[in-house]
C-alpha cells in the first residue's frame, strides 16, 4: 500500500461520523480531512522521524470501532486509582459512560458531545488552536475523527482537589482509536489530569492521541501520562501546552508498552514568568521502540523550565529522545535545565538522544547534559560484597534509576502501582 492510499484507508470510516451539535467540531473535522489529503505519513527521511521507522504501522490496517464488549468490573478494578474522584473511561476509543464516574459538584470533566455552556466556551476558544494539526498528519487524523473526547475545565480560582483520571482501554485487535483531550485551567486554578493507556489484549492496535492544555495566568496543571499499551500496539500522541503569566505545568510521562510509540510534547510559554517541569521515563525491551520528542519554547522573559528524561533499554529495543529548548529574542532571564540519562542493559539495546538548544537571548541560564551508560560497576561490586546476587543487584540498580522519575508522580496510588510495575519489568528485562 502506498503512503497516500494508507491514509485514505485510515480515513475510510470518517464520513460515517454523525455531525456534532458543536459547530466548532464539524469545522475542525472538515479542515482536518483536507489536511490529511495533503500530508503524508512521515518516513525516516524526515528529520523529525529519522530514528523512528513507521513502516511496520503502514503494513497494517486499522479502523475505528463503533461498539465494544465492555470489560467487567473485575477487569477494571486493577486500573482504578483511589484518589481519582472522576474517572472517564474509553473502550477502544469509544466513551463508556457506564464505566465512568464523574464526581458530583462542579462538572470538571465532560465528553465533548455533552459539553455544557462553560465547556462550549472553552472548546470554542481552545480546541484545535494549540496543537498544530495543519502540519502534523497524526494530529490531523485525530482531528478528523473528533467526536468523543474529554473536556476538562478548572474554574477560575478553584483548586480541583481530586485528580481526573482518563482511562483508555484497548480490547480489540486492529482497532484505531483517536483519543482527544482538552484541558483548560482558568486563571488561578489548579487541576491534576492523568491520561492512562492500558490494554486487555495483545494484538496490534493503533492509538493516535491529541491533548491540548491551556493554562491561564497563575494557574497550575499537573499532568501524568502513562502509556502501558499492549506489546504489539502502535501509539502516537501529540500534546501541546500553552502557559500564561506566572502559570505552572508539571508533567511526568511514562512509556512502558507498545511496539512503536511516539510522544511529542510542545510547551509554549506565551507570557512572562511561566514555569514548566517535564519528566519522562521509558522502560522498554524486546524489539520495542519508544520515541519522545519535546519542545519547550521560552517566548517571554523570566520563564523557568526543568526537564529530566530517562530511558531504560533492554533486549534489542531502541529509545529515542529529542529535546528542543528554544529561547527567543527578548526571553531574558530564562532559566532552563535539561538532562537525558540513558541506561543500556544489553549490547543490542540502542538509544539516540539529542538535546537541541536554540538560544537567541543573552541573559539566560541554560544547562543541559546527556549520558548513555550501563549499570555502575562500583555499585554492583558494593552490592555483591554484601552478599547480594548479581541478578538482584542489577534489578535493584535498574529500578532505582527509573524510580527517580516515578517518584515525581503526585498521585500516591499510581506511583505505588508503577513502582511495582517497574520492579516486575526490570526483573523481566534481565532474563536472558
Amino acid at each position: 500500500m502506498n503512503a497516500t492510499g494508507y491514509l485514505e484507508s485510515l480515513l475510510a470510516a470518517q464520513p460515517k461520523l454523525p455531525a456534532s451539535p458543536l459547530a466548532r467540531l464539524n469545522d475542525l473535522r472538515a479542515e482536518a480531512v483536507d489536511r490529511v489529503g495533503v500530508l503524508t505519513v512521515p518516513t525516516i527521511r524526515d528529520e523529525e522521524w529519522r530514528f523512528t521507522d513507521l513502516s511496520p504501522l503502514t503494513r497494517l490496517s486499522f479502523q475505528p470501532v463503533r461498539t465494544s464488549t465492555l470489560p467487567d468490573g473485575g477487569e477494571l478494578r486493577r486500573f482504578r486509582l483511589d484518589e481519582a474522584a472522576t474517572r472517564v473511561v474509553f473502550v477502544d476509543g469509544v466513551h463508556a459512560p457506564g464505566l465512568s464516574h464523574v464526581a458530583p459538584g462542579v462538572a470538571v470533566a465532560v465528553t465533548l458531545s455533552t459539553a455544557t455552556q462553560a465547556h462550549r466556551a472553552a472548546i470554542d476558544l481552545h480546541l484545535g488552536r494549540h496543537v498544530n494539526f495543519r502540519d502534523d498528519v497524526f494530529a490531523a487524523l485525530n482531528t478528523a475523527f473528533l467526536q468523543d473526547g474529554t473536556s476538562i475545565v478548572a474554574p477560575r480560582g478553584t483548586a480541583v482537589a481530586a485528580p481526573v483520571h482518563l482511562l483508555h482501554i484497548a480490547t480489540q485487535k486492529d482497532a484505531a482509536s483517536y483519543p482527544r483531550c482538552l484541558v483548560v485551567a482558568e486563571p488561578g486554578s489548579a487541576v491534576t489530569v492523568i491520561e492512562d493507556f492500558v490494554s486487555l489484549q495483545e494484538g496490534a492496535y493503533f492509538t493516535d492521541a491529541v491533548t491540548e492544555i491551556a493554562i491561564a495566568a497563575d494557574a497550575r496543571v499537573d499532568h501524568v501520562r502513562v502509556q502501558r499499551d499492549g506489546g504489539q500496539a502502535f501509539h502516537i500522541a501529540n500534546c501541546a501546552v500553552s502557559l500564561g503569566a506566572g502559570s505552572s505545568y508539571r508533567s511526568v510521562s511514562v512509556a512502558l508498552g507498545a511496539r512503536i510509540s511516539r510522544y511529542s510534547l510542545r510547551v509554549l510559554q506565551t507570557e512572562a514568568g511561566a514555569h514548566c517541569t517535564i519528566d519522562g521515563l521509558a522502560v522498554i525491551s524486546g524489539r520495542q521502540l519508544a520515541d519522545t520528542h519535546t519542545s519547550i519554547d521560552h517566548a517571554m522573559p523570566d520563564g523557568v523550565s526543568r526537564q529530566r528524561h530517562k530511558c531504560i533499554v533492554g533486549g534489542a529495543a531502541h529509545a529515542v529522545f529529542n529535546g528542543k529548548i528554544m529561547v527567543r529574542p527578548g526571553a531574558q532571564r530564562t532559566d532552563s535545565s535539561q538532562s537525558s540519562r540513558n541506561l543500556l542493559l544489553t549490547g543490542r539495546a540502542h538509544v539516540d538522544t539529542k538535546p537541541q538548544l536554540e538560544i537567541f537571548a543573552d541573559d539566560v541560564k541554560c544547562a543541559h547534559g546527556a549520558t548513555v551508560g550501563q549499570l555502575d560497576g562500583d555499585a554492583l561490586f558494593y552490592l555483591a560484597s554484601r552478599g547480594i546476587e548479581t541478578t538482584a543487584a542489577r534489578n535493584l540498580l535498574t529500578y532505582a534509576f527509573g524510580a527517580e522519575i516515578i517518584d515525581r508522580i503526585p498521585v500516591t496510588s499510581l506511583r505505588n502501582l508503577l513502582e511495582t510495575t517497574l520492579l516486575a519489568q526490570t526483573t523481566a528485562t534481565h532474563q536472558p
Partner: protein
C-alpha cells in the same frame, strides 16, 4: 587476641595481582587466626587497599599468582557475593552512593542474603526495622539514615558509620576495614572504634587497613604489618605502630632493602 591453639582462618601465600596490566600485589604472605586483630600499615600506593579488595573479589583485579585459603577452602574461585555469604566483609574506604535505593531496603536485602544463608530467619521490613534500630544505637546513628538513599549525601563520617553498621548486621568472620578511621573526628572515632571492639570475638578476626596509627589507640592490634610496593616487608606487635608514628615509613623500607641485598650477597 593471640592464642596459638586458635584455628587458622585465612592463609595467603605468594599472592600476586594486577590491575589494567600493572602488578600491584607482588607476592603477599599473610596468616590470620580466629580471635586476632591485625593492622596493615604502609605509605599511600603500597597496595593495602588493593589487597583488601582482591580478597573481597573486586572484578577489576586479576590474580596472577599465589593462593588464598579461607576456612580450609580456596577463596579465589568464589564470586564476591559467595565470599560475603561465607563471612568475608570489606568496609569500603569510599562507600558507594546509590541514589534511589533506600538504605533500609539495601541493609535488609544484605542481611537476608548473608544471614539467610546461615539459617537465620529472613526479616520482613517491620521486623528488620526494629532490629536495625538496635544496632544503630551501638554506633550512635540517627535512624533518619534508614530512609535516605544509600550513602547519598552522607558526610565522610556518616558513610563510615554506615559501613560499620553493615558489619554489625552481617556479623562477618573475617572483616577488612579499609581506612575506616579517615574522615572521622575524634568523638566519632571513639564511637566507631567502640562499635568495632564490641563486634570483635574469639570466633572472628579483623584486619584494619590504615595509614595512621590513630585508630590503633582505640582498637589494639595483635599484629602490625608494614606493606610497601605490594609486599609485607615487616611484621611486629602493636609497638611497631607507635614506632612508625614517630619515625615514618622510610626506615622500614631501607632496612628491608638492606636485608634483601645482604641475603643476595650471601647467596652469591
Amino acid at each position: 587476641m593471640i592464642r596459638q591453639d586458635s584455628r587458622t582462618l585465612l592463609e595467603v601465600r605468594g599472592l600476586r595481582a594486577t590491575v589494567n596490566g600493572t602488578e600491584i600485589l607482588k607476592g603477599i604472605d599473610f596468616t590470620v587466626r580466629l580471635g586476632e586483630v591485625h593492622a596493615i600499615m604502609g605509605p599511600n600506593g603500597s597496595g593495602k587497599s588493593t589487597f583488601a579488595k582482591v580478597l573481597a573479589g573486586h572484578p577489576a583485579y586479576v590474580v596472577t599468582g599465589g593462593e588464598v585459603i579461607y576456612d580450609g577452602r580456596n577463596l579465589l574461585d568464589r564470586k564476591p557475593e559467595e565470599r560475603a555469604r561465607a563471612g568475608i566483609f570489606l568496609a569500603f574506604q569510599y562507600p558507594v552512593e546509590i541514589p534511589g535505593v533506600a538504605n533500609s531496603q539495601f541493609l535488609r536485602l544484605a542481611y537476608n542474603s548473608v544471614q539467610g544463608e546461615r539459617g537465620k530467619d529472613e526479616l520482613d521490613p517491620l521486623e528488620f526495622d526494629d532490629f536495625v534500630r538496635e544496632k544503630m544505637k551501638l554506633l550512635d546513628m540517627n535512624p533518619g539514615f534508614l530512609a535516605r538513599s544509600v550513602n547519598e549525601g552522607f558526610s565522610g563520617g556518616e558513610k563510615k558509620r554506615n559501613e560499620v553498621l553493615q558489619m554489625a548486621l552481617l556479623e562477618p568472620r573475617l572483616a577488612f576495614l579499609d581506612e575506616t578511621d579517615s574522615g572521622l573526628d575524634i568523638d566519632a572515632l571513639r564511637v566507631v572504634a567502640g562499635g568495632i571492639n564490641q563486634l570483635s570475638t574469639m570466633d572472628n578476626a579483623m584486619v584494619l587497613v590504615t595509614h595512621y596509627q590513630r585508630l590503633l589507640n582505640y582498637i589494639v592490634p595483635d599484629y602490625v604489618h608494614v606493606m610497601d610496593s605490594g609486599r609485607i616487608i615487616k611484621t611486629g606487635g602493636r609497638e611497631l605502630a607507635l614506632e612508625l608514628e614517630s619515625r615514618g615509613y622510610d626506615w622500614v623500607g631501607a632496612e628491608h632493602r638492606a636485608a634483601e641485598s645482604a641475603a643476595m650477597g650471601t647467596a652469591r
